[in-house]
Symmetry: C2
């Protein structure tokens, strides 16, 4: 238990705003998910965040004076000390938004803003796969690769709140160009779009695949198609999935040598592929990183794909209250 | 100030045992350096460590009951919780040595054993280049690349005391084979031996160099020769040094994206090359890592090449006392 207090957690996404009331044991007392309506602009989104918070408070049957804090996990570069979101690619009009100040004016609680991936890693550490560990890294596989690092039970945010951009760790300094401008980032090898790119290249090179037709249609192929085809026995899709696992394993071996963590957990749709993805990850970790760290680390699927963001946002806010009180 | 107490710090190297008495402000009250005599075996080395500790205690004019702790920075994989050194490649006969127990039996003080590079990073953070920062990474350039990571004023040791093996971060997954068995470790590109290898390759490929003669003699060429020739205007040596800086910069860019630290400091003879080494490091950091982390991080030369190990060992021991008391 972090505290006897209770907080509201908000997970602000480009598509949905998820919110919940979370107690000091990490128990979710109520939750909701409403559309973000990002296209309607910044002020509408902020109002909708307030609405979601109000809805879960009422659902939990608590008055605002029974709630100690509001935690928000937000996308984009942001400063966790000031609670200002610098910008958010998926939220039009979001430039230098002082989220903390805005919500501290609206609500009678302390507000804590954190990077969405960092906050989710804390949720996963606190109540998910990482329960009982002291150090855990979460990697979120999707269009990009998000991540958060929990050390000694605390999110490591770095000097500017920019730590844990693990998706942009170079694993090949003269490798594939990444969307970020750098070369050879793990994201450029193992994100969903790069998996699709690699399968299309394999098909173009004459490898047979049940996805050959779909691959010729613009935007016709998703990472989900690939891992589903792989699981169904498509050898080319299987090879692409295995290669993705190997790339992720190289990144994980680096994380083991750098952090010597107890756990690395993965979330995102791609983890539905199960052992076809995890087996090559673990193999690379074993062959590329040092003992005993490579034996200690557990490489697992995250346990809270839907709620880690809410629980983590609330948990980080409660943790910040405790730290400032002590 | 960590504490009002005082500790002895020992920096156990393959060639020399360095020791000193250090107060809670990080002030070195006395120091010594004596040969390790590693070839004489484990028990002789342990006796000599005791001798060095006794010498600096007497030099400082303190009784043992005025000293609160003994901190030891030791090479090789070791467990900081138990204080057992698993093995040490440069110390013959060192297998599973319970250093903490041995010295707690000999001396009336608490003993804290840490990895030498981790301990040195704490010294550098506490009293050297990292003074005033909250997070600092030290990289030690030599035959290998050692490193330590200080976060929030504490060494991050990891689950097994094996964290911060940054020299074995892969920067090219299908790259040069490293002595550790992995491929593409930064150590395989930017250590002293790899610099020598790359210069020899350049000379063999017909590049002119003032070191051409020396390069043909077995073991005739050192990293020092290369950076000295580079500083003296040898273009080929200069290109090798610059390339070394670029490789280190790629590793630093990863560290910025992963940790968002306030400082990365470098120690080791190669840092004598000054801006010829640091300028390409900073350039890669700027081009490969994210803002504002890439602007925040200061990439500098370490300030305590001789004493970081002693001061850090004592400091970690004092810090451990404070933590266990609170």
């Amino acid at each position: 238990m972090i505290t006897t207090k209770t907080a509201v957690g908000i997970d602000l996404g480009g598509t949905n705003i998820k919110a919940g009331v979370v107690d000091g044991n990490g128990k979710l007392l109520s939750r909701t998910s409403i559309p973000t309506d990002a296209a309607k602009g910044r002020d509408v989104v902020i109002d909708r965040m307030g609405l979601a918070a109000e809805e879960v408070r009422q659902k939990a049957g608590l008055a605002w004076n029974q709630i100690a804090a509001l935690g928000i996990g937000a996308p984009g570069p942001l400063n966790p000390k000031t609670g200002v979101v610098a910008f958010a690619p998926n939220l039009p009009g979001w430039v230098n938004v002082p989220l903390k100040d805005i919500f501290e004016k609206r609500l009678p609680v302390r507000v804590q803003v954190g990077n969405d991936a960092n906050v989710a890693s804390f949720g996963e550490y606190w109540m998910g796969a990482g329960r009982g560990t002291n150090s855990m890294i979460l990697l979120t596989l999707g269009t990009g690769i998000g991540s958060g690092v929990v050390l000694d039970g605390k999110v490591w945010e770095g000097a500017d709140g920019m730590a844990a951009e693990i998706g942009h760790m170079t694993i090949c300094y003269n490798g594939v160009k990444c969307a970020c401008g750098n070369f050879g980032c793990i994201e450029a090898y193992a994100s969903a779009p790069s998996m699709v790119r690699r399968l299309k290249e394999a098909i173009a090179a004459g490898r047979p695949s049940s996805l050959a037709d779909k691959a010729t249609r613009p935007d016709g192929l998703s990472a989900r198609d690939i891992h589903q085809a792989a699981v169904a026995g498509d050898a080319t899709a299987g090879a692409i999935l295995e290669e993705t696992g190997r790339f992720l394993g190289i990144a994980c071996a680096n994380l083991v040598n750098i952090f010597n963590p107890e756990m690395i957990s993965f979330s995102g749709g791609m983890t539905d592929a199960g052992e076809m993805l995890f087996e090559p990850i673990r193999k690379e970790v074993k062959s590329r990183s040092f003992q005993p760290g490579s034996a200690t680390v557990r490489v697992v699927r995250a346990a809270l794909p839907d709620t880690a963001g809410i629980i983590g946002a609330a948990g980080c806010a409660l943790k910040a209250l405790e730290t400032s009180a002590s």
